[in-house]
Assembly symmetry: C2
Homo-oligomer: 183 residues x 2
Amino acid sequence: MSTRSEIIKIADELIREKGFNAFSFYDISKALGIKNASVHYHFPTKNDLGIAVVNEYLAKLEEMMADSADKEPTERINVYLSIYTSTKAEGRICLVGSLASDLQTVDPELKVYLKQLVDKILNWVTDILADGQARGVFAFSVVPRTKALMIITNMLASLQLTRLTDEQDFETIKQTIIKDITK
Amino acid sequence: MSTRSEIIKIADELIREKGFNAFSFYDISKALGIKNASVHYHFPTKNDLGIAVVNEYLAKLEEMMADSADKEPTERINVYLSIYTSTKAEGRICLVGSLASDLQTVDPELKVYLKQLVDKILNWVTDILADGQARGVFAFSVVPRTKALMIITNMLASLQLTRLTDEQDFETIKQTIIKDITK
DNA sequence: ATGTACCTACCAAGTAGTAGATAGACAAAT
DNA sequence: ATTTGTCTATCTACTACTTGGTAGGTACAT
């Protein structure tokens, strides 16, 4: 893997572990065994690095959506939910939740890309739900976009909250979501 | 108001606006027109200040619970939800959400108090829901504690997310919660 | 010889936190 | 009634450290 990719990977992990304002270029250089100036060579500013991380997510999400596009809604929603299961296993929170918390401290340019990421996720989940409803495998009493908002907020905050309540609560929330939409 | 109380108030606002790691003692001293050493006089360390903010919430919550204890479940859940409505109006996020995001960077002592706050909120909402269910005004198909988790995660994350989607989405989420539990 | 990816060595700014002085309020001792 | 001592809340002035970021050099592959 290229140094550039490794920097993005480590930055992503650090953002989701400590937050955007709590990691430094030194943290990354230390993890990679290079000097902080070398990190700046690949990403001149912290904002540049943040944008690269978000863009990586945009690309990965695009890929995920394409890969699961012709699958059943039930499986597609599981693909979505499983993202959080892996994140939970890491003991970290999700990128959107982390950056959304630090929103007022990040560069407006980064905000634009983050907004795109949120839109893309929201549209994806909305599509899955609408598809499931149309095929008669899902049932819910609000418009798909609203149901998507409910599910996304459940998952996003469950990662943050269940580090403070029962660790088992994450799985409870996830199963409740599945049961709730399944006809 | 005493300087001590004012420091706590400003710290709370800053934590919910920028995050625990993005505000400084200087920010507070500037806002109050005093020197940073004077802030340290009242709160020797940032950890002390963070704990004072969380304790302030514990006390306020206690008061709120007592004040609404003999009211109808419908009104009590509205009291709970209205906390987030005010926070949304401020353009800030909730304290729990902010500190939960920065969890790995704060002192273990602060974590303990934060855990107490989350427990208290979770128990409060669980009680309201169980009471409403017993009185036949609420209906839901999971145990009250799980439903409380769903609602709390919805509200917590809605503050974070709706700064990136539609501003109107916050109200949509709130109304969906009310409609969902009302029999 | 040109570009890539790293290095050494630095800087200015901001951070949490400390030492020690000062000024006023209040109470006890003279 | 005045002095003395103590407490509170502030100040000036500082320290040690970390931060994001830069200038300029080097090794190496194409």
